[in-house]
């Protein structure tokens, strides 16, 4: 295991409430690295599925057999989902920007293309904005939305990741979904 994974493992095992904060950039980096690695391995034209990336990040850090040192899946998945959200939002912003401007320059873009089945990038940004309003009122709703929406996890996976029951996730998601629907004007 490299230093990077080591550090993630340590943070996941720690009780320090700031651990989650420190975890995020590491996992963010990890997901991007994984995505790049996948792109390097598989020829261009590939798209990457968020769920697969998050799961793979987990497998890579924890190992297929599970790491005896810790079992705090929740931290990991919450952080990974947030990281995935940022990656997707960055990507959507970048796409939007590209459409409107630029100019001939020599740029080195560090692009990672992740597939999202969103109607459009604009919608993705709108969803994120609506979720920010929700986050102020309800942090757990945010975590659930990240996992369900941005990481593409099922209710069961979300429940496992957050250590809550499936019916709870279902109820919360019902609220989040209808909330988004009322804000965006269509069903997700």
């Amino acid at each position: 295991m490299d230093e990077h994974s080591e550090r993630i493992t340590q943070l996941l095992a720690s009780d320090d409430p700031r651990a989650a904060e420190a975890l995020l950039p590491l996992i963010y980096q990890d997901l991007r690295r994984l995505a790049r690695h996948r792109l390097a391995k598989e020829p261009a034209g590939q798209t990457l599925q968020p769920t697969a990336l998050v799961h793979e990040a987990y497998l890579r850090i924890v190992g297929a057999e599970g790491n005896p040192g810790w079992d705090n899946r929740g931290h990991f998945f919450a952080a990974a989902a947030e990281a995935m959200r940022r990656i997707l939002i960055d990507q959507a912003r970048r796409k939007q920007r590209q459409r409107h401007g630029g100019g001939a320059t020599r740029v080195d873009l560090d692009e990672v293309e992740i597939a999202i089945d969103a109607p459009s990038y604009g919608d993705l940004l709108a969803v994120d904005e609506a979720l920010q309003a929700l986050e102020a009122a309800d942090e757990r709703a945010r975590s659930i939305a990240n996992l369900r929406y941005f990481s593409g996890m099922s209710n069961r996976e979300t429940a496992e990741a957050l250590g809550i029951s499936v019916p709870t996730v279902e109820r919360e998601w019902r609220f989040i979904r209808t909330f988004l629907q009322s804000k965006l004007g269509y069903d997700l």
Binding site: R38, Q46, A64, A104, D138, F175, R177, D187
Partner: protein, 1205 residues
């Protein structure tokens, strides 16, 4: 709304949503003192819940699609279903006919022009499929959001298995339905379309006038959407899950190197047949669902399906299954035993080669069975054939039998009359004769069929060889396997030829009776050391560099042998010997001069280049020690590296890499024993391979010592940065789908640092680019164990065969002789933007490219170095053209303008604006893709810009513009609107002022000197996909899906066909300056043709890359292709071999098509004589093949001159 209010909303909403629908709103109204906006929000959300009450508890991706109003020209009625690739809607079509159609809209993610274009090609192929058993694909297109869709015949039917079971169809009826399905699949296969996802849900039965008719839906869709991906990485997701329906998928479809072909469809049909007959699947769902890359290949024997009759007689629930077939269990068992067992089992063979040659053959065999003819799948025992004969001639035989019974009765009851006795004898004799006739007839037919199968297969293999595909076939390790299973009865010279083709091109090579398990090349490359694995143990042998040099065995047993840097001695070590021994060679043989003891045998050794230090690992603890190789004194002890399996690599900074058996590579600084960093190579191993793939088998530093390369026991190879431990690259693994005997045996880096050579137990030697895509794989025929690179020589040693019968091979090849392409590294996302994505100067020194990363670049072709690059996301450059003077470069982009650059400095000098009229035509909602193709007139006075469009299906009336500019003033000379659809290519006539344009579905020629050049002359011949004027004659060459034509440049009529069959799916064609050679680029390969004769002189497969565009270097120095990566293929060495292959190919085709499988030598010679059109060289090869062919007189398999093993 404040956070508090929002929390209240949530509370109320959840409380309300738990109530019954009818009580909700009342309850909400009765709540006292709530803020109105809170109540309103709750009401809104409750409304939303009512609209879509379904909870998204399914693990599908969270975002759902809105129900679209329209998709393309179709009005959406409702959603029918959703599958892995997209959602299916029932839609209504109004024009040109009113009807219901099923529209399948594909998920997002296909937005590149190149992909869309291929999608259109595919659609045309699908539209060609017309068969009663195939649901017609009417149309395909791209909707407003850029998502592709297919419009198909809407079939309201019942899945095949359900239909049969529900209607309690008997076995014969089921077979007849099934045969109809096969015929449909066969029809598609003949047109080159593979279904890839055949399963009951995709075969619907519709009753037409009470007669059931099967309809196959979704034909070719899986392939057209997914083929790029699948062809490259197989149907595996990141998790090793399988896309598709595992129960019905052929084993080869699970492979990383999936080669789904017609035989995979046949397998799926076999599974379906199995299910129709027995009611159960050959492999249980659980098991097939759990199939993944590793497990499928390692599938144990018990995974082999049971014969249908056995399943029915043993499995629970078979009684009901039998009942649904209007039989009892015993009768069903009887019904299936024999023919149907054999046919089914042959169709579901794990190895594609052992299945039927085609779906047609499967259907034929079933029809034979239905007609009581012998089936080919069965074992041809006399009893079986006679039984069939009796069934077929039931009337006659029963009559005979009746007489017989009467006679027997007569014998017992009465005295036998002589006359009657004679009758009896005559009858018996007749029966016997008939039986013999039947047997002979069967043997004859069977032989013809087997001969045909052999010829077909040989031809396929010859075709592959001719296509230059042997490299990639070698990748999959199956070329030899394919040859091995060919009927030995028919093998002849052509078989030997193919066997020879699949071997590497050595400088020399030499076979040994024993396997070679280690090898080393002396510093001056004049001598080599080999270790031979004899029955008495491993014997080191020294010999000269050449195939005939004398072997000088060293009198010891040791696993390793290395030259001492003093140039005199030889060092041996390793099991069973302990320690390291220094041997000197004198006139009387070998003397043991020195010896150094070690704790346990040496497990690995490595030398620091240019340094007097030998590093060894020894003992159970993997102790690392440095020795002086001359006197074998201990220089330093570096401690234990903690593992038993070690391999070492040493760089010039005296750092060592040590691989362990747990995927860890250690980096140690020899000067500082405390320093030890670790790289975990785990990330390149698929989780399911981890248990056997984790030992590090070999390691190497890259030549700049900045990265480490490690090969693992699972065949995976990766490159890691030594600075931050980051995984830099994953190289092609040494894994085959044919065995699980994977491992990387050795790896060496070429001194220039561009290539790494790996060898593996899969028998391949791979030369892989450390930076990009260029990969060459050479097949050794065996299992390469060791290779060593000194200067550009490569020593390769093999173990051939298995166990006691294995032998060895060692040889030296020269890296420079291998046809390795050079990669131009620079474009981040390498795909070229359009057909006009490459321009090369006339001196062949400089190239310009444009790719989808919005950049355009300049390259020095001699070195592959990037000279300059621009990126412009605003312009989104798509195409470029070089002024004939080579002084200026024109680049145009999607944004609707372009630049003229100084071709030498790459400075932007002028901006080219498209006339507002053309841009103004881009009505709102029309997704124009802007200028997409450019060309300069040969006098350089003008240039043409063709536009792309994606709106052809929605807006059929509007033609796409081509604008012709004056080069000097940039004034617009013409705006041509000849045709609708994207203008993929424009080309100027070399002498006249004619402009050819290739649109999506047709090609036109415009006479720019005429008063009204538009709309131009339509070029004849179906569906042009590429066009170019011959630089000398001015004749227009056009490529359609399957053919290359010559056309008259004035009236567009077809003059002649250049080449048939082999050159398919062409995207771009181009000529060299003299017009002798024609380059045709297709996504999967490019071919170089003789422009006069149409003979393919070189066919290069994309080898995991994909080609989008290409150019022939003017001096004939090579071919530059753009795609996922940009590669310059050197031309040298390609010519002769391919000419030779082409000859043999033609001969093989003559034998298959013209000799009609008769395998009668005399008749064949006669027919050969009648064919005056055959070239002499082809005739010679045919004669040679016929001469070498084992014809009927020869005993089977005798005198085979080359077994290849």
């Amino acid at each position: 709304m404040t956070p508090e209010q929002l929390r209240r909303v949530k509370e109320l909403f959840l409380a309300a949503s738990d109530r019954d629908l009818e009580h909700r709103s009342g309850w909400l109204d009765e709540l006292p003192g709530e803020a109105p906006e809170v109540v309103e929000q709750v009401r809104l959300q409750l409304q939303a819940l009512e609209d879509a009450p379904a909870d998204l508890g399914t693990p599908e991706f969270a975002l759902r699609e809105r129900l679209p109003e329209r998709i393309g020209p179709y009005r959406v009625e409702h959603r029918i279903g959703a599958g892995g690739m997209g959602v299916v809607y029932l839609c209504s079509q109004e024009r040109p006919v009113r009807r219901s159609v099923a529209v399948k809209r594909i998920r997002a993610g296909m937005d590149s022009d190149a992909l869309l274009r291929r999608f259109h090609f595919e659609q045309q192929v699908l539209a060609d499929l017309e068969h009663p058993a195939i649901a017609q694909v009417y149309d395909a297109g791209v909707d407003d959001d850029g998502r592709p869709y297919f419009a198909m015949e809407h079939v309201e039917g019942t899945p095949l298995t359900g239909y049969c079971d529900h209607g309690r169809l008997d076995t014969d009826s089921r077979l007849r339905l099934f045969v109809q399905v096969c015929r449909g699949v066969q029809h598609a296969h003949h047109r080159g379309v593979v279904h890839r996802d055949l399963k009951p849900q995709n075969i619907l039965v519709v009753e037409v006038d009470g007669v059931p008719r099967p309809k196959i839906i979704d034909f070719g869709i899986a392939k057209s959407i997914d083929r790029e991906r699948v062809a490259c990485v197989g149907p595996m997701t990141l998790h090793g899950e399988v896309l598709g329906t595992p129960e019905y998928m052929a084993p080869e479809q699970f492979s990383r190197h999936a080669v789904a072909d017609t035989r995979s469809d046949q397998f799926s049909l076999g599974v379906l047949l199995y299910e129709l007959l027995t009611g159960s699947l050959p492999v249980s769902s659980d098991r097939s669902r759990s199939r993944t890359l590793g497990t499928v290949q390692a599938a144990p024997a018990e995974d082999a399906p049971l014969r249908p009759s056995i399943v029915v007689s043993t499995r629970d629930g078979s009684a009901e299954a039998a009942e649904r077939r209007r039989l009892d269990r015993r009768a069903l068992t009887q019904r299936l035993r024999g023919d149907l067992d054999w046919v089914t089992m042959r169709a579901v063979e794990r190895t594609p080669e052992r299945r039927y040659g085609s779906v047609g053959e499967l259907a034929d065999d079933l029809e034979r069975h239905l007609d009581h003819q012998p089936v080919l799948a069965g074992p041809p025992s006399t009893r079986y054939r006679v039984a069939k004969f009796v069934q077929r001639n039931r009337g006659t035989v029963v009559a005979g039998g009746g007489v017989l019974v009467a006679l027997l009765g007569g014998l017992v009851a009465f005295a036998v009359e002589n006359a009657r006795a004679r009758d009896f004898a005559a009858l018996a004799a007749r029966r016997e004769r008939q039986a013999v006739d039947a047997r002979d007839e069967f043997a004859r037919q069977n032989r013809i069929l087997r001969g045909r199968a052999y010829a077909s297969r040989v031809l396929e293999l010859a075709e592959l060889a001719r296509d230059g595909r042997l490299k990639s076939l070698g990748d999959r390790g199956n070329f030899h396997s394919s040859l091995d299973v060919l009927d030995s009865e028919f093998r002849g010279m052509e078989w030997d030829w193919l066997a020879a083709l699949s071997s590497p091109p050595p400088v020399w090579r030499r076979p040994f009776d024993e396997p070679v398990i280690d090898a080393d090349l002396s510093p001056d490359a004049g001598e080599l050391l080999l270790v031979l694995e004899t029955p008495e143990g491993a014997v080191p042998v020294r010999t000269g560099n050449g195939p005939d040099a004398t072997l000088r065995p060293i009198p010891t047993r040791a696993r390793f042998a290395r030259f001492c840097p003093d140039g005199e001695g030889v060092l041996t070590a390793g099991h069973p010997a302990e320690g390291v021994t220094y041997w000197s060679e004198g006139p009387d043989g070998w003397t043991e001069t020195r010896r150094c003891e070690t704790p346990g045998p040496v497990t690995a050794m490595a030398r620091i280049p240019g340094s007097d230090r030998l590093l060894i690992a020894c003992g159970a603890e993997g102790q690392l020690r440095s020795l002086d190789p001359r006197d074998l004194l201990l220089v330093a002890d570096h401690g234990s590296c903690g593992a038993t399996a070690v391999c070492l690599a040493v760089d010039d900074r005296e750092r060592v890499l040590a691989g362990r058996d747990d995927t860890v590579v250690q980096i140690r600084d020899l000067g500082d024993p405390a320093s030890c960093r670790e790289i975990d190579a785990r990330e390149i191993v698929l989780p399911q391979n981890f248990h056997f793939g984790k030992a590090v088998e070999c390691v190497a530093f890259t030549s700049d010592s900045k990265a480490a390369i490690a090969g693992l026991s699972g065949g995976d190879v990766g490159v890691w940065s030594l600075e931050d431990g980051r995984l830099m690259r994953v190289l092609e693994p040494h894994q085959t789908i044919w065995s699980t005997d994977w491992s990387v045996n050795s790896l060496v880096v070429d001194p220039a640092g561009r290539w790494v050579v790996t060898s593996g137990r899969d028998g391949l030697l791979r030369v892989q680019s450390l930076e990009g895509f260029g990969t060459l794989a050479l097949r050794s025929g065996g299992k390469i164990y060791t290779s060593y690179g000194g200067s550009d020589l490569l020593l390769a040693a093999d173990r051939l065969g298995q166990g006691a019968s294995s032998t060895g091979l060692a040889g030296v090849l020269r890296l420079a002789d291998l046809p390795i392409p050079m990669e131009l590294v620079g474009h981040e996302r390498g795909e070229s933007s359009s057909d006009d994505a490459i321009a090369v100067t006339k001196d062949g020194k400089t190239a310009y490219t444009v790719a989808q990363d919005d950049s355009f670049r300049m390259w020095e072709l001699r070195t592959g170095r990037q000279l300059a690059a621009w990126r412009d996301t605003a312009l989104a450059p798509q195409a470029l053209a070089l002024h004939p003077s080579d002084n200026e470069l024109l680049v145009v982009g999607r944004a609707g303008y372009g630049y003229l650059l100084d071709a030498e400095t790459f400075d932007i000098e002028r901006t080219v604006h498209m006339p507002p009229a053309t841009l103004g035509r881009q009505a709102p909602g029309r997704a124009e893709s802007g200028p997409l193709s450019v060309a300069y007139a040969s006098d350089g006075r003008s240039f043409a810009v063709g536009f792309g469009t994606t709106s052809v299906l929605r807006d059929p009336e509007v033609a796409t513009p081509i604008v012709v500019f004056d080069h000097a003033t940039l004034a617009v000379l013409h705006v041509l609107e000849g045709c609708r659809g994207t203008v993929w290519e424009v080309a100027f006539h070399p002498t006249r002022n004619l402009l050819a344009a290739e649109y999506l579905t047709s090609s036109r020629i415009f006479d720019l000197d005429s008063d009204d050049p538009a709309p131009g002359v339509e070029v004849q011949g179906a569906n042009k996909q590429a066009c170019a004027f011959h630089p000398r004659t001015g004749i227009l060459y056009g490529a359609s899906q399957r053919e290359l034509f010559r056309c008259d440049p004035l009236d567009g009529s077809v003059l002649s066909t250049v080449s048939e069959s082999l050159v398919t799916d062409v995207l771009v064609i181009g000529f060299d300056t003299a017009g002798d050679r024609l380059l045709a680029v297709s996504p999967r390969h490019f071919s170089l043709l003789n422009a006069d004769t149409g003979d393919v002189v070189w066919l290069q497969k994309a080898e995991g890359n994909r080609f989008d565009s290409g150019a022939l270097l003017p001096g004939g120095g090579g071919v530059l292709v753009g795609g996922w990566s940009w590669l310059l293929y050197p031309m040298a060495g390609a010519g002769d071999a391919f000419e030779e292959r082409a000859t043999v190919y033609r001969a093989a085709r003559f034998i298959r098509d013209d000799l009609d499988g008769g395998w009668d030598k005399a008749a064949a010679l006669e027919r050969l004589g009648a064919r005056v059109d055959l070239a002499d060289d082809v005739r010679d090869v045919v004669l040679e093949i016929l001469g070498g062919m084992r014809v009927v007189e020869d005993p089977p398999g005798s005198g085979t001159t080359n077994s290849g093993r």
